[in-house]
């Protein structure tokens, strides 16, 4: 079912265009990387602050609030370019273990957001220090895993 969807997806014009156009794939890949730098930078800066490792002059709430817009902008670009990159080789991804690990970790990022939204990210009062540390630590771990499993996709046979 999912596989036949991937097969259909792989035959679409967009998929063929990205796959066969000499420049399209690296350009989308380049934008994906730029957005990772932006989005990743915002995530790391928030995590570092939540862990109490830096930026101590800014409050957690203030920093997260101010970075939110750019985190979203970077995140949307990462997702859109990521979907385009996936579109050009869905069958390969369907069979790639690293891809499914990456998707699982991304789903866990959603769970992480659900768990910590009220107490840390969306909190208007200063969040509990140890809870913020836990959120920052898990976020670092999840994103490092996502980068690694994402990179491994290209090395899957």
């Amino acid at each position: 079912m999912l596989l036949s969807f991937c097969q259909w997806l792989q035959e679409t014009d967009v998929s063929v265009a990205i796959r066969e156009g000499a420049l399209l794939y690296p350009i989308i890949g380049g934008i994906h990387l730029l957005a990772i730098a932006l989005f990743g930078g915002m995530v790391l800066a928030s995590d570092v602050r939540m862990l109490g490792w830096g930026m101590r002059r800014e409050s957690i709430t203030d920093l997260i609030g101010q970075l939110r817009v750019w985190k979203w902008i970077g995140g949307v670009v990462v997702v859109v370019t990521g979907l385009l990159l996936a579109w050009c080789e869905p069958i390969k991804l369907y069979h790639s273990r690293s891809f499914w690990i990456k998707m699982t970790l991304l789903a866990l990022v959603g769970v992480h957001a659900l768990i910590f939204h009220r107490s840390v990210y969306g909190s208007t009062a200063a969040p509990d220090t140890s809870r913020a540390k836990l959120a920052g630590f898990l976020s670092l771990l999840l994103w490092a895993g996502i980068v690694f499993s994402g990179r491994l996709i290209a090395f899957d046979s």
């Binding site: 690296p26 890949g29 990387l33 932006l38 995530v43 790391l44 830096g54 970075l67 491994l152």
Partner: protein
């Protein structure tokens, strides 16, 4: 020793052997390289967005720059360890790769620029128009480094 000789020596070095050994070695180092640039370029981008007046407006750019500085340095340190490791794995091929050469040129300019002119602009009392210019140049330079870096695998 000729440059080619240096490249061949690098490719036979223990670092290169480790990188070309287990199949997870290269992607692992490459992932660290990605996390490194998220630190390096991400923290610089935050200062740039502030200089452009597009974000973090409750703090002056100087404060952000000094608070983020250790993490910019940490990112740079990660890059300067993981980059040469990946290079050693296939030195002769990288050395002649035009995208690689463009990347390294942009990188050298970007690093010098970041710790001189960009630093001065971010630390000045009222960055103003000079700050906007400094931020644009900075974003352009680092984007070129990333873009040319991505192209290495395709030329």
């Amino acid at each position: 020793m000729t440059i080619l000789g240096i490249m061949q020596w690098l490719e036979a070095s223990p670092a290169a052997n480790a990188m070309n050994g287990p199949e997870w070695a290269f992607p692992l180092v490459e992932s660290l390289h990605f996390i490194g640039f998220a630190f390096l370029i991400g923290t610089i981008a935050i200062v740039d967005l502030r200089l452009l007046g597009l974000g973090m407006r409750r703090q002056p750019a100087a404060q952000l720059e000094s608070d983020l500085r250790p993490w910019t340095w940490a990112g740079l340190a990660i890059m300067l360890i993981t980059g040469p490791l990946m290079f050693s794995a296939d030195a002769t091929r990288y050395y002649v790769n035009p995208s690689f050469r463009i990347k390294i040129t942009c990188l050298a300019i970007a690093i010098v620029y970041n710790f001189t002119l960009h630093h001065m602009a971010a630390r000045s009392e009222k960055p103003g128009a000079a700050g906007i210019l400094a931020a644009c140049v900075s974003l352009l330079l680092w984007s070129s480094v990333l873009g040319a870096g991505r192209m290495i695998a395709f030329v």
